[in-house]
Symmetry: C2
Subunit: 239 residues, 2 copies
Amino acid sequence: MSRIRLHVDHPLAQGQSLPLTEAQAHYLFGVMRLGPGDDILVFNGREGEFLARVTRAAKRGGELELAEKTRPLQIPPDVWLLFAPIKKARTDFIVEKATELGAARICPVQTDFTNAERIRQDRLQAHAVEAAEQCGGTFVPEVEELRPLSRWLSGWDAGRRILWADESLVGAAAALSGAEPGPWAILIGPEGGFSPAERDRLRALPFVLPVSLGPRILRADTAAVAALTLWQAALGDWG
Amino acid sequence: MSRIRLHVDHPLAQGQSLPLTEAQAHYLFGVMRLGPGDDILVFNGREGEFLARVTRAAKRGGELELAEKTRPLQIPPDVWLLFAPIKKARTDFIVEKATELGAARICPVQTDFTNAERIRQDRLQAHAVEAAEQCGGTFVPEVEELRPLSRWLSGWDAGRRILWADESLVGAAAALSGAEPGPWAILIGPEGGFSPAERDRLRALPFVLPVSLGPRILRADTAAVAALTLWQAALGDWG
């Protein structure tokens, strides 16, 4: 059995004690049936992962004592995922997968053909935390608020290239094999694709690399996973 | 708006008429509100895709008349997905994604650490059909019945190599870049990984290529999508 991993907000250092919130106590002692003397792993997204022992277990709280650091903070490569939110379950899924695949920042964007008017940023951020707990990551990507694509592009730093999953003739792997590492973003459209105006604007931007993801039409969630995979394999930390 | 695509079991040829089942009639006329004169696309996984016009619409049936062939049958590259079924929603998801990503055959395998005792093959096959309808594919991969991994391996044709997602030191993309095309399979384990006995057996097989999918632990469904993506980009039809 692998140890329970818990994300906490508290600063972490060996020998310190860490108070548990009511929700954490409920999960550890109510759901997972742990008690004093049991060990778990904790991380806060900033200082790596620590072994922690339960020193007090109550119904509405408790305390851990931090032992040694078990893993350093591993910041993923500098790739953001920009995606147009779709149905709830698939949006949750994209956030989970992007965290597992090591996206550094998750940016829901509103496009001309996006149906979503708003997202629950707090719920999506909680999904990213859960995914990090599960996948052994020590980093949790920030989930941004929903913003229009046009606003993202207006303030865009031209030093960050954009891998744009489009109906391009160039395969993503081929395009990435000749590309330089550095800051990148991946842009995935909604199920209906991008509007003509959006496509014109994206095509005109020198830092945008349009690529194809194969001959079949991929759902937005599949496209997000596929593009992140190819990016990590070519320029990221999958070497 | 893109046209409705419907998978049918009937043989297809221009000029022929095609009777609709009660479920198809309910979907087209009840749910999608089509009527006589409306056009849809049909495919049967064997003869490509045809334009079809509704000629009769009733509550429990109806008829289409087949017009011209709109796409030839496109058989995906010869790659199978072997995976250990997990929770229902994630198993459904793997079947959907494998179809979109162009797996030729989907094989649920029982491993030492698989919880699933049985699967609903008919339900999973229906998911593959739905995914093919959605992704514009003209081919539907066969979903096999659940069989033990040991049984798959005993009768294995050594000409079909297996890309095995394992804790290998070799990245999948690097391993595939030097590999030959031809018949392949991708093997994804359950959340708990493979047992020591399974790993010994797999390591000893000359046609098995163990690879890593990056430094984070991927869920089985993420691993299936990532491995299929890298395979298609390196040896499949994503060129």
